[in-house]
């Protein structure tokens, strides 16, 4: 069994006690300690900035041309915090409880409680940084609601919350760059962790412009490199999002936790054809006001607006009256798949459902505005006009985005949406201090196996990324580095650096020398297809077993027939991509293995063999109440370690959103 180093004591006191007793590094010593931060999304940027502020010498790396471009920027809907500004009964406990329940009881109680506790500080911090959150007319912060909760606790900035939060963290980071405490390396990709005496002591990174491989020393290494949803080829992730940094750490001995836990987001713009390179999310916040439906008749050929009210099946409201359209993501996604599989899907591919704003546009916003303007008995047209203005304010950018992609006007016709891969709850296994099982190697944000169990609630990813970076790591890293103050910076001429660099160079040469006939992209597409069909929204033992074989086959083909044009010592985007896809293939295999091993359904992981009569996910707490932490044992070979999940505060039950 793995030790997650959860502090003793009452759940609600653990974090306070930890902070009160953890080891500290004095300011003079901080200046002697170097920390490497890989990735500059919410977790990375906030960590690098905060650690720089504390006085550590930080080196931050990102593969984009600027730290401001990390994919956290694309998060739309909002960030949760237990502020209870709405006076609707929210509290730290309730946020904690919702997150545990939403995660289908596969997350660590102590971590989640800490997350709920620091959530309130995040909002204060961001406001102080100048993040322009949405406000009421009275000048105070506004909230909206998200799936899996019955309170309004989500802070937002139109449909660009992630952008605003990241810009806040980015600005804090750039301030530290200006002050000289953080050194920024953009257009750099981490390609290995350097281990000395069992501890993480640096990284090997490639300059993506010159193609040169570099060595960087650090007393500790933080991986804040996001999730691996792109293993499915089509996902809402950015094109460059990848697992490489985390995977290299895994190959160096870091355990990979719950790799199969993938979040399929219910509201994305559906796939239209083979040319598609990525999928676009339509924020969950839209489910505040959008109602999801399909026609009651199978294969109904009529246009959405021609189908009368009584011939529409608002299936989420029908199946889950208590939460309605705001059930958690995994539940909503499966329900959409169920309807489409049963022949009720809409659009040309029949793989879509409607997300319709007309009702709330007219009845909620239109009427409220009419009343505000003193219009009595407004006609339909007036209501639509007034309602549109409010909807535009709330979701304007999302509606525009939808229209640009589909060419349809969502103010007039309902959006067509379908689930798509969005987030990965799995990631590097970390303990309470966010340290992997490798001393000195940390994983933050989506890159760790995280606080979200088997399903993440909406608006919680931003919360976790910032919690880890701003409020957790500054304390927990001190507890480790306090014992490292005597360690002098190790010269990068050390044998371990040389070996690691040689390994990286060798792999690059190997890739370049295959000179086969198929493009990297074509392999990625094929991998994605296997993963989506067999390790996607519904999984079974047969499919998973097949998938493992197919991926192994694909991997062989890749290493013997991939074609990478260009050279090594130059900017070569195909080479960058090839390295990432090679890692995705290995990860894909592990995901299938993990999914196969976990013969229960929980959250986003749905094993067809394990479901209730109504088709809901059926957990098996007796056998699977653990975190699966996989240790790499060479090619296609892993050993499973388990971290038992103990619930002191909450009693796991069958999730119920009815």
């Amino acid at each position: 069994m793995l030790d997650s180093k959860i502090p003793a004591g009452k759940l609600e006191d653990k974090w306070t006690d930890y902070k009160g007793h953890c080891k500290l590094v004095n300011p003079a010593n901080k200046r002697k300690l170097e920390i490497i931060v890989v990735g500059t999304g919410l977790a990375g940027a906030s960590a690098a900035a905060s650690l720089g502020e504390l006085g550590y010498r930080v080196k931050a790396f990102c593969f984009q041309d600027s730290p401001r471009r990390a994919h956290s920027i694309a998060a739309q809907g909002g960030i949760n915090a237990a502020k209870n500004y709405q006076n609707d009964g929210d509290s730290v406990f309730r946020l904690f409880y919702d997150t545990i329940k939403g995660g289908d009881y596969r997350s660590r109680e102590a971590n989640v409680h800490r997350l709920a506790e620091v959530s309130v500080n995040i909002i204060d911090q961001c406001v102080a940084q100048g993040v322009p959150f949405a406000r009421e007319y009275g000048g105070l912060l506004n909230n909206r609601s998200f799936g899996g909760t019955q309170v309004k606790r989500t802070f937002y900035a139109a449909g660009q919350t992630g952008q605003q939060l990241l810009i806040g963290a980015y600005q804090a980071l750039e301030r530290q760059v200006a002050l000289g405490s953080v050194q920024m390396f953009s257009r750099h990709e981490m390609l290995d962790v350097v281990m000395i005496d069992g501890k993480a002591r640096g990284i090997i990174a490639r300059d993506l412009i010159s193609g040169k491989v570099e060595r960087h020393f650090g007393h500790a290494v933080l991986l804040c490199t996001g999730g691996y949803g792109n293993v499915f080829y089509l996902s809402t992730n950015a094109m460059g999002s990848n697992v490489t940094a985390a995977w290299k750490a895994h190959k160096r001995g870091a355990y990979f936790g719950n790799p199969c836990f993938t979040q399929i987001h219910p509201t994305c713009i559906p796939v239209t054809g083979d040319h598609q390179s990525k999928l676009t999310l339509m924020s969950e916040s839209l489910r505040n006001d959008g109602r999801i439906w399909v026609p009651k008749k199978q294969n109904d050929p009529r246009k959405a607006n021609d189908i009368p009210e009584d011939e529409r099946d608002y299936y989420l409201e029908r199946r889950y009256p208590a939460f309605g359209n705001l059930v958690p993501r995994d539940v909503a996604s499966r329900a959409a798949k169920e309807r489409c599989d049963a022949g009720y899907g809409v659009g040309t591919t029949k793989q879509a459902v409607y997300l319709d704003f007309r009702y709330n546009l007219i009845n909620k916003y239109g009427r409220a505005e009419a009343s505000k303007h003193g219009i009595e008995n407004p006609d339909q047209e007036t209501l639509v006009r007034l309602g549109k203005e409010v909807v535009k304010e709330e979701y304007g950018n999302l509606f525009d985005m939808y229209e640009k992609i589909t060419g349809e006007n969502p103010y007039e016709v309902p959006m067509r949406i379908y689930p798509a891969v969005h987030y990965t709850m799995g990631g590097l296994w970390v303990d309470y201090e966010l340290m992997t099982n490798i001393p000195g190697l940390y994983a933050l944000g989506e890159a760790n196996f995280s606080d979200h169990g088997a399903n993440r609630l909406g608006a919680s990813a931003l919360m976790q990324g910032l919690a880890d970076g701003y409020f957790v790591i500054p304390y927990t890293i001190g507890n480790y580095l306090a014992d490292e103050i005597a360690t002098k910076p190790i010269p990068i001429t050390h044998e371990a650096f040389e070996k690691a660099e040689a390994g990286v160079t060798e792999r690059i040469n190997k890739l370049m020398n295959i000179k086969g006939s198929q493009s990297v992209e074509s392999f990625h597409k094929r991998l994605g297809k296997i993963m989506w069909e067999k390790c996607g929204m519904a999984r079974n033992a047969k499919g998973l077993t097949e998938a493992i074989g197919e991926i192994q086959q694909l991997k062989k083909e890749f290493w013997s027939d991939v074609r990478i044009p260009g050279g090594i010592e130059e900017m070569n985007t195909e080479l960058d991509k090839a390295g990432r896809v090679a890692d995705f293939m290995e990860l894909g295999e592990l995901m299938c293995k993990d999914a196969l091993e976990r013969n229960e359904s929980c959250g986003g992981h749905f094993r067809e063999e394990s479901q209730t009569e109504e088709g809901e996910a059926l957990r098996n707490d007796d056998q699977y109440m653990y975190v699966a932490a996989w240790e790499s044992k060479g090619d296609s070979n892993w050993q499973l370690h388990k971290e038992e999940l103990k619930y002191d505060m909450i009693k796991p039950t069958q999730r119920n959103y009815k």
Partner: protein, 256 residues
């Protein structure tokens, strides 16, 4: 929406690296669906080039949903192409007709040197932010977020300015290669909020000085930046920057 397929001629800027001489290459692409995004059309072209054993075209892109600000193509004489309020990655092929010729160039400005093909170096923007585009608060402030109410109008204006994605289209479009829309968006975002008030003078003076140092030109209000900005950042922000600059420059009593 009717879909159609098209054959196109592409003239694309190719340049091996920062120091190499570049030139336009002409390519033909066939059976492009009107449903594709512009960058997906480039994916098709690149796949084609790889199969022909040629070097694919390097271009910056990441989120492909119009928010990361990485994509940066100057298409037929306009940054981000013909659509209004759109990034290159959001541009879809239904904007073009069968038989069209499309010319694609990188952003052009001394401050944005070409790295390879259509990829340019925009690190100047980061340095402009480093010069003052932030509020100096360390992590761990304990003031409650609701302590200072902010007038809704100002909060909305601040947000509208903060929506800038730092893509550089404003510079690419400006005849002066001025970055004022970018700089003013940040100055406005922070100046409109009470939290940003304390550092407002130094911020505007330093950010303008840095932008000048990077080799961006001055604003002559041609409005080209506003017209091509994918986030429709208002040029009024530049007026606000000027006003801030004037106030700061006239009142600041410290040598810089």
């Amino acid at each position: 929406m009717e879909h159609y397929s098209m054959n196109l001629t592409l003239k694309v800027w190719k340049q091996k690296n920062a120091t190499a001489e570049g030139n336009f290459e002409t390519y033909q692409v066939k059976d492009i669906s009107s449903e594709m995004s512009f960058l997906e059309m480039f994916d098709v072209l690149n796949e084609q080039l790889i199969h022909e054993g040629k070097d694919p075209i390097a271009f910056d892109h990441d989120c492909r949903e119009g928010i990361c600000g990485m994509c940066s193509m100057y298409i037929n004489g306009r940054p981000h192409g013909p659509w209004h309020g759109t990034t290159t990655c959001q541009l879809h092929m239904r904007a073009f007709k069968d038989g069209d010729t499309i010319v694609v160039e990188p952003w052009r400005a001394n401050a944005f040197p070409v790295v390879k093909d259509l990829v340019v170096d925009r690190s100047a923007f980061d340095r402009v932010i480093q010069s003052g585009g932030y509020i100096s608060v360390n992590t761990g402030v304990s003031v409650d977020g609701n302590t200072i109410p902010i007038e809704r109008e100002n909060a909305d204006k601040a947000f509208a300015a903060a929506a800038c994605i730092g893509c550089g289209a404003c510079v690419a479009a400006c005849k002066n290669s001025s970055a004022m829309l970018f700089v003013s968006a940040k100055v406005s975002h922070l100046a409109l909020l009470p939290q940003g008030d304390v550092e407002r003078k130094n911020r505007v003076l330093n950010m303008v000085a840095q932008a000048d140092k990077e080799g961006f030109g001055s604003c002559t209000f041609t409005e080209a930046c506003e017209a091509v900005c994918p986030k429709e950042i208002s040029i009024t922000n530049i007026s606000r920057l000027n006003s801030e600059y004037l106030k700061a420059g006239l009142s600041a009593d410290k040598a810089h």
